[in-house]
């Protein structure tokens, strides 16, 4: 390949155009996060809606310059209205929920918008009109550069300038910037947060919608747009520093350039390039290029109820759960066994994530990496090394352990959302390596024929094996949680400074927790691969990680049972409804209902329900609050 100047320039200009598009979407996400602290996974959906609406509106309007740009703007505003409406109807109800719980709601919104879009526009891709007057290409140094790209290159900085003006020259903008720093104080000065949040959601969603509508002349509009862009947009926001618009612009440039030139230099891992850039930036600057440390001092930590060793009632509940699973497996027929096996595996996976999230205070957006690495390791051992099942099961989690030790070392240097983003980066790097190294991993085709040994071939026996291993693993996790290590971990979670002041090396403890969590995810992974007989890159992709995250959060982070309840109900319900045509829509609505009705998760909700029934029935137990206050 000869690199001539014209070609390089062409790549460069194409990168700048992509950067503008990326920036529009990312700036909206960054503004929303800055003020509301919501990690909005639905932002990619707003982008997709912008594209569909832009397509429909510009088609409906008379062709011409005014029709195109007018239609684009109307589409952006419409998405802004949709975003504001979602904020009012759903998100406003859950601002008081634990951190990251809103994330579950935004994920439900992704599902709902997916199916709503499918319903309105159908599954066929749409090709929109070219921008009138900008449908040609100009020749620069022998390369043809689309005129529309040049327009996009200009639009990015123009929008950046406009946002700057709004943020510095209007009272609203000053309030937004103030709220990005300390929203509680802004409230204490008499500013209505709800109003501020809704307007911020309007602006942020409108920017995403604008990004989507402007994309119509460049690519076909499809249902894949939301998830295709969301990971990259998060990367941009995190690199720039969450809440910083200028940061989003610089980071969008950086990512677009690395994408354009990375593919020339490192084609083998081109998919991982943005995530590698993010990891490098976060390790050097843990809060992004233009971000500032999250001021923890004003965040009233929810003091969680102390974990107690399991009482009689809970032991009984566990036995009932196991009995229920066995019943499902042996009375539910073939289908019942498969579902019960899945539930055990997924419960263990969720419990492993809960270990680092609930006890360690570290949310992971990429936990599937350790699940998948271990599953792949087992598949390698079984197919390439010819190991039988049990040794492969025993050895494979070591791979997860090593990977967790490696990535965890970097991740625990950060905290909060930034830590979560580093875990996502790690998982994406692993995923793209597995996906692109097809000589070894089979790439998209995966590895097939990883079956259990003869004695465990029957589904019922394999279920019992899974149940036994899963139960042992869960008990071990419990033991660790109640060992001194678990106490130290919770101390570090609740107050890092105080824990360090009494001599705890919090970082090392969190690292160890990260590794433990990875190993147990790995155990779930090996159980999975032998249950399915195959492994595909999907198992370590983002959706798999998010499933686990949803299970833990929906179940209840503050409860030991939370992840198990979350995993079981999530798997069961999704399994039941996924045959329906618009099941995502239904599933999204169900998730939102849980989020609103049980802001402390299913476990917390059940507990409150139980207390309420107990109080009604007259045998109220004395709560600590009542006992002391009188």
């Amino acid at each position: 390949m000869t690199l001539d100047l014209g070609f390089l320039l062409g790549q460069f200009l194409a990168a700048l155009a992509s950067a503008s598009a990326l920036f529009l979407v990312a700036s909206g996400l960054s503004i929303i996060f800055g003020v509301t602290r919501i990690v909005n996974f639905a932002h990619g959906s707003f982008y997709m809606l912008g594209a569909y609406l832009g397509y429909t509106i510009t088609e409906a309007l008379p062709t011409g310059v005014l029709g195109f740009w007018g239609g684009t703007l109307v589409a952006a505003l419409a998405v802004g209205v949709i975003g504001a409406a979602i904020e009012i109807v759903v998100l406003r109800r859950i601002y008081r929920s634990p951190e990251l719980f809103q994330l579950v709601a935004t994920f439900a919104i992704v599902l709902i918008i997916q199916d709503a879009t499918l319903y309105v526009w159908g599954p066929v891709e749409r090709l929109g009109p070219r921008a009138p007057g900008l449908d040609g290409a100009v020749q620069i140094l022998g390369e043809y550069v689309p005129e529309y790209d040049l327009a996009l290159i200009a639009i990015g900085p123009v929008v950046l300038g406009l946002i700057w003006l709004v943020f510095h020259r209007t009272r609203w903008g000053v309030l937004v910037r103030a709220a990005t720093e300390d929203r509680e104080m802004v409230g204490a000065l008499g500013v209505n947060q709800s109003w501020l949040f809704t307007t911020v959601f309007f602006l942020g969603s409108a920017l995403a919608g604008l990004g989507g509508a402007l994309q119509v002349p460049r690519e076909s509009v499809s249902l894949l747009m939301d998830l295709n862009i969301i990971a990259e947009v998060f990367v941009v926001v995190v690199i720039g520093g969450m809440g910083s618009v200028l940061g989003a612009y610089v980071a969008a440039l950086l990512i677009a350039l690395f994408n354009a030139f990375g593919i020339l230099i490192l084609p083998e891992i081109s998919l991982a390039v943005p995530f590698i850039v993010m990891a490098v930036v976060l390790i050097a600057r843990p809060w992004g290029l233009f971000g500032r440390p999250e001021s923890g001092e004003h965040q009233q930590a929810l003091s969680e109820e102390p974990l107690r060793p399991l009482g009689l009632a809970r032991r009984a509940a566990i036995l009932a759960g196991v009995a229920g699973l066995a019943g499902l497996a042996f009375l539910g027929g073939r289908y019942g066994v498969v579902l019960a096996t899945d539930i055990v595996i997924v419960s263990l996976f969720a419990a492993s994530l809960h270990f680092m999230m609930g006890l360690g205070g570290m949310a992971s957006f990429g936990h599937a990496a350790y699940f998948g690495i271990s599953a792949y390791a087992a598949a390698f051992l079984a197919t390439y090394a010819g190991l039988s099942m049990l040794p492969a099961m025993l050895l494979a989690p070591v791979a997860a352990m090593l990977a967790a030790a490696f990535f965890g070392w970097f991740c625990v240097r950060s905290t909060g959302v930034y830590l979560a983003m580093l875990t996502l980066a790690a998982a994406q790097i692993v995923w793209s390596v597995v996906f692109q190294a097809s000589e070894i991993t089979g790439g998209d085709d995966g590895i097939l024929g990883v079956w259990p040994d003869k004695w465990a071939k029957s589904r019922e026996v394999y279920f019992l094996l899974t149940l036994a291993i899963g139960a042992m693993a869960l008990v071990t996790l419990q033991r660790i949680a109640h060992a001194p290590f678990g106490y130290v971990l919770r101390a570090a979670r609740d107050n890092r400074l105080r824990a360090e002041a009494v001599g705890v090396d919090t970082r090392n403890h969190q690292w160890a927790a990260f590794v433990v969590s990875g190993v147990f995810a790995g155990i779930a992974g090996v159980l999975f691969v032998f249950a399915k007989g195959s492994i595909f890159p999907d198992e370590l992709a983002i959706p798999r990680s998010f499933d686990a995250l949803l299970m833990v959060l929906l179940g209840g982070v503050q409860s030991v049972f939370g992840p198990l309840l979350g995993a079981a109900s999530f798997t069961y319900v999704r399994d039941e409804i996924s045959r329906l045509e618009y099941w995502r829509f239904i599933f999204g609505i169900l998730i939102i209902l849980v989020v609103i009705l049980a802001p402390d998760g299913i476990a917390g909700g059940l507990q409150r329900l139980w207390r309420w029934i107990a109080a009604r029935a007259g045998f109220r137990r004395v709560t600590p609050d009542k006992a002391e206050g009188a």
């Binding site: 309030l175 204490a188 500032r292 206050g629």
Partner: protein, 233 residues
């Protein structure tokens, strides 16, 4: 003006305030005295709706405000000056003041910018500087000026003399006298007893989340054993 009747405040499961009652009248400065961790800040946060007072009553101008959102409480005319100042560091002095600006309520004392700059001359020179670039004393002035931009009728001042130079402490005393002279009600939390004695009419002493003494400043001065027990370091 502002009255707390037997409030109990919790942080999560931790019971911080026990049956705290106190009252502040217009044109009166009430000092809330106590050691570190006694519950002074929590009392102020309970009034502002920033900490959860689960039981008891908080009355402002006769109406119950417990359970209202912080912004709604602020809009009734209660200005809050937090201990940690909580200046918006990335905003200029003028922008910080803008965040505090509110449409004045009826009968409220409105503070013009010029007046605030006369009260706090240092701020006038630094109006275009970022909040984060101000000295501790200047930040203390800014946080009070920011609250006064909202034309409050009652001001909650959380340890204004803490960690600032003696000159600034002096200025804080003048400021409190100015607020009092304008008929504002002031609840002042302090560890610096001498400072509190100078500017306050009455004193409430809080210890372990319970009010231990409530009376005129002169009364407290006459009871050295109370000071010894609850305030000596």
């Amino acid at each position: 003006m502002l009255e707390l009747r037997g409030i109990h405040t919790f942080y999560g499961a931790a019971h911080i305030l026990h049956d705290v009652s106190l009252e502040v009248r217009p044109g009166e400065v009430v000092a809330l005295l106590g050691r570190n961790g006694a519950g002074k800040t929590t009392t102020m946060k309970s009034v502002m709706g920033l900490a959860e007072a689960r039981r008891g009553e908080i009355l402002y101008e006769g109406r119950p405000i417990r359970g209202l959102a912080a912004f709604a409480i602020a809009r009734l005319g209660i200005g809050y000056v937090p201990e940690e100042r909580r200046i918006f560091k990335q905003l200029t002095v003028m922008e910080n003041l803008e965040v505090g600006r509110r449409e004045p309520l009826e009968g409220a004392r409105v503070w013009e910018l010029d007046e605030l700059f006369t009260l706090f001359p240092n701020l006038a020179e630094r109006r275009e500087n970022l909040g984060g670039h101000l000295s501790g004393g200047e930040q203390q002035m800014l946080t009070i000026a920011r609250t006064l931009m909202g034309a409050p009728k009652t001001v909650l001042l959380d340890e204004p003399s803490e960690g600032v130079a003696p000159v600034i402490v002096e200025q804080m005393a003048h400021t409190i006298e100015a607020l009092k002279a304008q008929g504002l009600a002031v609840l002042l939390s302090e560890q610096n007893v001498r400072f509190a004695e100078r500017v306050s009419d009455r004193a409430c002493i809080i210890e372990s989340g319970r009010i231990q003494f409530d009376g005129a400043m002169a009364e407290l001065a006459a009871r050295p054993e109370v000071r010894e027990q609850y305030l000596a370091l």
